[in-house]
């Protein structure tokens, strides 16, 4: 059992606060992705869990054991680094065996485990090579193999795929998902790539400004963003936001009336681009830019002086200047309070 509990972990670097009291529980064998833009604190949090950074406040527990005072080697973790950190003076075999030998395992056991993980990661033909003789993708495999060979309670991954080219990244992503599910290890995976996060995660924690804004499964994050930032960050193109005015009949958005939550003051109306359909009635929009993307059209419109993006069927014939109406799917409309930037539920 390797459940990870993060209790009130905060980190300040001088006057800069990298993490504001983060609380999070990651279940045994869960694949948790920390997602956010650079500087959001995700790597700092990962490094605090690894023991490479010391938290200014708070506790970290792994498997019911408080470990934040322990050095990395006593935490039962293994880590894959963004630049792989494959030791250049050691062969692939020696790299993968490094941690096992540090544990003083008998050499036959070391050999067995290196061989097994090497086969798993398809690097068994490279065991005699040095890192300088490997491609980026191969180095990445060595780094993962080195972590897996430790059979750790927890694997920590810091943007492990970001240095690979697009095609290789796609291939490794699928492979990693399979292997890590198989290994039944609790995984914390840091990335800034939302597609990567969606495809890999059991749960995604969206981080921004040193805080976790929302931690939920990928679909929940996508459908029901808990904060405006989450909606704007996840999805490509991102969610559309329009101001909504309260009237006795409901909420008016660009002159159109919508049923919404029972809340005082102005709200923000939010809808994802693919949840808009051209219709006879709906938001009045002037087409500005039309980008044919193959399966669909990405249309940027002007709605009451605001830009609004819609993903529409590519059979539509649209030209800049056309005036159309866009109808939002009623069950996909979301509302945010502009004062708190948090979601308001009806």
């Amino acid at each position: 059992m390797a459940e990870i509990q993060i209790k009130g972990v905060a980190k300040t670097f001088g006057a800069f606060t990298a993490l504001h009291s983060v609380d999070m529980t990651i279940a045994d064998q869960e694949f948790m992705v920390l997602l956010g833009a650079s500087g959001c604190g995700k790597t700092t949090l990962l490094r605090i869990i690894a023991g490479l950074e010391t938290a200014s406040q708070g506790e970290v527990w792994i498997g019911g054991r408080r470990i934040d005072h322990l050095p990395p080697r006593h935490r039962g973790i293994a880590m894959v680094f963004q630049n792989y950190a494959v030791f250049p003076h050691l062969t692939v075999f020696e790299n993968v065996a490094f941690g096992l030998r540090m544990q003083k395992l008998p050499e036959t056991e070391v050999k067995r485990r290196v061989q097994r993980t090497a086969e798993l990661m398809h690097i068994d033909a490279l065991l005699g090579r040095y890192s300088g003789q490997l491609s980026g993708g191969q180095r990445q495999r060595v780094a993962v193999a080195r972590a897996l060979a430790m059979e750790p309670d927890v694997i920590l991954m810091d943007e492990p795929l970001s240095n690979l080219d697009a095609l290789l990244r796609l291939e490794m992503r699928a492979e990693l998902k399979g292997i890590l599910a198989e290994s039944k290890t609790t995984t914390i995976y840091v990335t800034h790539d939302q597609v990567e996060a969606m495809s890999l995660a059991d749960r995604i924690a969206i981080m921004h400004g040193g805080r976790i804004l929302q931690a939920a499964d990928p679909i929940a994050i996508y459908r029901n963003p808990a904060a405006r930032f989450v909606g704007a960050f996840i999805g490509n193109p991102p969610m559309n936001f329009l101001p909504a005015e309260a009237t006795p009949e409901g909420w008016t958005v660009a002159g159109e009336l919508f049923a919404g939550p029972d809340a005082p003051g102005p709200l923000e109306f939010a809808i994802r681009p693919e949840d808009l359909r051209p219709a006879e009635t709906g938001l009045p929009a002037t087409v500005r830019i039309v980008e044919p993307l193959g399966p669909h059209l990405l249309v940027t419109c002007d709605v009451a002086g605001r830009a609004l993006r819609a993903v529409l069927d590519s059979d539509l014939r649209l030209r800049p200047g056309d005036r159309i109406h866009l109808a939002p799917a009623a069950d996909r409309v979301r509302w945010f309070d502009p004062k708190t930037d948090l979601a308001v539920t009806p």
Partner: protein, 282 residues
């Protein structure tokens, strides 16, 4: 991993060493230079120093040497550094040859050029063979002080250009090729590219090289001694003379303060003249 005390532990030995063998002795030199027999402060040692008939010529020679040598070295080092970047084949060999003098002591350099300028040396041999002179000329005698000066100049340029070269080559390596290529696209010729792109970007390295070299130029000692004996007085030589032959540590210390003062003065000037505006570096 937490490591609050570790950096200090690692730094401590070097810091203590520098405090004991660098900072402390310098306060001692300063104290020696300014302290009188009664324990009070005095400028008497500076007066004694300046009163010595060799002091003014030593000061003059040292400054003249630096002023004559350093600009030539800078130009040569720049030219050599640019040449090196232009070579395609045999670059490593050329670089090694260019940097050989880096490993040669000033004394050895003095001896090497002594072999050329000595009465029975290679210069006279060549001139004799060519029929220019019949009898070997005494080039390095006290009556030919300007020849000694020239010989020292040549030896210094020969020996100490390499250190500037190395700094400049390293500096050139830090400048991305794209800047020069962009300038070429915008119509700059080779000289303009060097003058308007490379040289300004090289300023930090140039500054380092010049400061280091200028300070070393004021410390010139063994080259002069090997080539001219006492015929060409220089500040370091005078310091050695007061310390060693006359055993007057106070005056030697006063001379040291003079050398130090000149070094700091020139360093400040170079820092000011060649300063890189904030944010204008590579």
């Amino acid at each position: 991993m937490p490591s609050r005390g570790l950096p200090y532990l690692l730094l401590m030995p070097a810091a203590i060493f520098l405090a004991v063998f660098f900072l402390y002795p310098f306060t001692l030199v300063a104290w020696e230079a300014f302290s009188g027999a009664d324990g009070g402060l005095t400028l008497a040692h500076f007066a004694t120093m300046a009163g010595n008939w060799k002091f003014s010529s030593a000061l003059e020679n040292t400054l003249l040497l630096a002023i004559a040598v350093v600009p030539i070295q800078t130009a040569m080092a720049l030219a050599m550094a640019v040449l090196v970047t232009k070579i395609q084949r045999g670059r490593d060999v050329v670089l090694y040859i260019f940097t050989i003098p880096l490993g040669i002591s000033d004394l050895a350099a003095g001896l090497i050029w002594f072999a050329i300028f000595d009465q029975t040396g290679f210069l006279n041999s060549a001139l004799h063979t060519l029929g220019v002179v019949k009898e070997p000329v005494i080039w390095l005698g006290y009556q030919n002080r300007w020849v000694i000066f020239l010989a020292v100049m040549l030896a210094e340029i020969w020996r100490a250009t390499a250190i500037m070269l190395v700094i400049l080559v390293a500096g050139l390596g830090l400048i991305p090729k794209e800047y020069s290529e962009a300038a070429e696209v915008f119509g700059a010729g080779p000289w303009q590219r060097f003058r308007r792109v490379t040289l300004p970007l090289l300023r930090p390295s140039l500054q380092t090289a010049l400061i280091l070299r200028t300070i070393l130029a004021f410390e010139v000692f063994a080259v002069v001694y090997a080539l001219g004996g006492n015929n060409l007085p220089i500040l370091m030589g005078q310091t050695f003379h007061w310390q060693f032959d006359l055993q007057d540590y106070h005056v030697a210390a006063a001379l040291a303060m003079v050398i130090l003062g000149i070094s700091i003065g020139f360093t400040l000037v170079l820092l000011r003249v060649l300063r890189v505006p904030k944010g204008a570096g590579i």
